[in-house]
Symmetry: C2
Subunit: 236 residues, 2 copies
C-alpha cells in the first residue's frame, strides 16, 4: 500500500453550459475537497472552480502545464501527490488525456505508482463517435490533419483507405477557423459514397451533428461551423 | 424543419453504482420525460429506469435490439420518432454506439434526418483511454481480439507494430472470463519495453487501473480481473 495521493482526472464543460447537464454530481463534490490542481490555464481553471462553487478559490493551488513544459520538469508537478495529497488534473475543456496535454502527467503518475482515477464527463470526440453510428467496435481518433493542402489531401485519402480495408471509422479535428478548408478538401477528396460526420459545438445550445454521404453533402449547405469546435469523422 | 422526434443516446452505469456518481442530473431528468426506449435487454432496461426513479415503468415502451436483429427490421424501431415522439437508446452498460449494437439504429436515424443527441456518461473504453496517459492525440479502439491463440498472437504483434510505426495507442477488450488468456498472450508476445494498460471494473468500487511495461508486468502478480470487465491498451 502506498500513502501517495490519488490523481483525479477532472473533465470540464465544453463551453457555456450548466455543469449539471454534463457532469455527475460526484465530480462537483469531489472537486470541492481538493486543494491541488494541475491545469492548462489559470483563468479557465479558476472560472471552472467558481462554477463548481469551490469554497475558497484563492486557496486552490494551481500548477500550469502546456505543451512547452518539458518532460523532465513534470516531476515537480507531482510533489503534492507524493506527499500524500490528492490532486485534480483538468484541461481547458473536455476530458484530460484525450486530445489534451495532460497525458504526460498521467504517464508519469503511473510510473511512480500513483493511483489515477478518471471521472465521467463530456468529450466532444467521444460524444461524436457515439453519435456517428459508424463502427463502435473499431474506430480511431487521429488528432489534427496536416495544415499543408497537399499533405492534407493525401492524409484524407489514407484515412479513407483505412476505413475501406479495416472497417475502422476515422475521426479527426481541426483548429476551428480552418473547418471550412478541411470540409472543402473532404468533399473534393473522398469518394461520393463515403459517409462524413460533422459534429459542431457538442453539448452546447447550438449543437449540430450531421452524417451524410459525400454525394449528399455536395448538394447541402455548408454547415454552420465557422470558428466553432468541430469533430469530423468518416466511414463507409 | 422536421417534426420528427429526437433520438437521445442514454449512457447507463457500468455495474452496481450510484447513478449520481456517473451520470449528469440532466440525463435522469430527461429520461423521466421519455415514453419510448430502444434497449438491448428488457430486464436491464427496466432496472435502469427504476434506478432513475422513472415514474411508471409499465408505461415505458421498450423495443429490444440485439445483434440478431436484421438491418431491414430496424426501420420499424424508428416509427415513434417519425411520428414525432422522442426516444432514448440505451445499452446494457456504458455508452450507446461504443462497443455496442446501437450503432445501426443511429446510422438509420441519420439517414432519415432524425436528430441524434448523445448524452454524457460512463464508457469503460473512454475512461481507460483517459487514464492510460498513452497518446490522447492518436488512439484506436479495436473491439475484441481473435479467440484463436495463433490468430490472437498475430493480431497482438500487428497492434504493437501500429503503435511503433504510427504512434497510435491501441485499445481492445475481451470477454471477461478470457482476460487471463489474453493477458498471458500479451506478456508472451509484446516487447519488454511496451507499456500495457489493464483497466478493470472502471467506475466500480474495486476499479483498478494499472500501466506498466511488459518487463515489470512479468515480475508482478496477475491483476485481479477474472470475470471482471477489463480494457487492455498498449503503447510505447
Amino acid at each position: 500500500m502506498t500513502s501517495y495521493g490519488t490523481l483525479y482526472l477532472l473533465p470540464v464543460g465544453l463551453g457555456e453550459c450548466q455543469l449539471e447537464d454534463v457532469l455527475p454530481k460526484r465530480n462537483i463534490e469531489l472537486i470541492k475537497t481538493l486543494s491541488y490542481f494541475i491545469a492548462e490555464n489559470a483563468k479557465e481553471a479558476r472560472a471552472f472552480l467558481k462554477q463548481c462553487a469551490y469554497p475558497e478559490i484563492s486557496r486552490a493551488q494551481l500548477s500550469l502545464i502546456n505543451q512547452h513544459v518539458k518532460i523532465e520538469e513534470l516531476n515537480a508537478y507531482l510533489e503534492p501527490l507524493l506527499s500524500g495529497n490528492h490532486m485534480g488534473l483538468m484541461s481547458d475543456a473536455g476530458c484530460p488525456g484525450i486530445a489534451d496535454p495532460g497525458a504526460d502527467i498521467i504517464k508519469l503518475a503511473h510510473k511512480k505508482g500513483i493511483k489515477v482515477v478518471p471521472l465521467v464527463g463530456p468529450s466532444s470526440i467521444v460524444l461524436s463517435i457515439m453519435a456517428s453510428g459508424f463502427n463502435g467496435q473499431n474506430f480511431a481518433f487521429n488528432g489534427y490533419l496536416p495544415i499543408d493542402k497537399i499533405a492534407r489531401a493525401k492524409r484524407i485519402k489514407e484515412l479513407e483507405q483505412i476505413c475501406l480495408k479495416s472497417k475502422q471509422a476515422q475521426f479527426f479535428i481541426e483548429t476551428p477557423y480552418r473547418n471550412g478548408n478541411v470540409f472543402e478538401d473532404l468533399l473534393k477528396t473522398l469518394q461520393s459514397s463515403t459517409q462524413l460526420l460533422v459534429a459542431t459545438n457538442i453539448t452546447l445550445v447550438d449543437e449540430n451533428i450531421l452524417v451524410k454521404p459525400i454525394s449528399a453533402w455536395k448538394k447541402s449547405n455548408v454547415p454552420d461551423f465557422f470558428k466553432k469546435p468541430t469533430v469530423f469523422g468518416i466511414y463507409l
